[in-house]
Assembly symmetry: C2
Homo-oligomer: 207 residues x 2
């Protein structure tokens, strides 16, 4: 059914806004909106506010660029974490995936993407300089590459490796328990947990 | 991946709110929220406001109970529609489906559901009395039953038929072009358009 005859402009607006979300078509959007219409005003307000409030108030950690409620995120501000080990990930979903394994006690660095010429994403679009700065302080013992095992992930790893190999820091990467071609976030926690425990020297992984 | 380790309470709130929507799991919710986070604040505000505004300001037409921006909906207030013919539908999606066929010039009555003992929905939960009142004015020539051709739809038709059969009004139902067992809203516009043009007397449809 194409949805031309909206009985209400307000309804049309809400549906169009929902339909802008990835993977949500007009029809699904209408379903969701009509579902919300059945709820109490209070509940719907909570929904709307949760989103606007997030967008307005959420911060990015000044250390690792993870999403955070504070200037420095809970992980970076946690003294019981090993701040000399930095796990480099593509996005915050990957941080959450690794945290869920409860196998990692170091800190993170969120690149905000991976090098992908196809999508016009180059090194300058990512939080790479800030990573190099963190290493330059000399307080970093190890960098763990935990990017998706895709071509983009591998080339990003290699780009970072070239930038870092002259520093004192030990460069490791996830054990290839993560099956090649998989997105990190779709990897089950057991595999992911093992792969971060048995991480390899980056050189081994490419040899 | 189960999502326990949210880096931000604000993020967690937003994800939980999204995950309350039908057919949206935690993981999808996270995707949608992170998508919104990438948008300009203005765009996200428009999203949040479109929903809260809808919930706060939308009205239901005092005649047909369709969703409307005004006290009386565009269809009921349209003098070029035939107000003596009322098409009875389950919900506003069905109004939109029939409007899309551009085959119907009468008005509507939205029951707000169908009789479904399984879901504990009885006649008193639906806009049935208000329909009988509309008929009682004597200004209605025909009532078209356009409910889904499911068991619940049929029993609702039959309940309404018993209530109406002593009145002068002509009671018709959609031609069974709508394949039995289908939800009305999933019917293609052509079939739906034909079935409302070749509508039958309700007696014929049950004989």
């Amino acid at each position: 059914m194409n949805i031309e005859h909206f009985p209400s402009r307000l309804l049309e607006n809400a549906v169009n806004e929902f339909a802008k979300l990835p993977g949500i078509g007009k029809k699904t959007a209408l379903r969701l909106v009509l579902h919300l219409l059945k709820k109490d005003a209070e509940e719907v307000h909570r929904f709307g506010e949760a989103i606007t409030q997030l967008r307005d108030e959420v911060k990015h950690c000044s250390h690792c660029h993870n999403i955070s409620d504070h200037e420095v995120c809970n992980i970076c501000s946690n003294p019981s974490r090993d701040h000399e080990v930095i796990c480099v990930v593509e996005n915050i979903r990957d941080v959450m995936s690794i945290e869920n394994t409860q196998q990692y006690r170091g800190v993170y660095h969120v690149l905000g993407g991976i090098i992908s010429p196809m999508d016009g994403i180059g090194p300058s679009d990512l939080e790479i300089d800030s990573l190099l700065e963190r290493v330059a302080t000399g307080q970093v013992r190890e960098i763990i590459f935990a990017l998706s095992t895709t071509m983009e992930g591998d080339s990003t790893n290699f780009y970072l490796f070239k930038k870092l190999k002259n520093s004192e820091v030990r460069i490791t990467t996830l054990a290839r328990g993560v099956s090649v071609g998989d997105e990190l976030e779709f990897t089950d926690e057991l595999t992911l947990g093992r792969s971060i425990v048995n991480r390899l020297l980056y050189e081994q992984s490419i040899s």
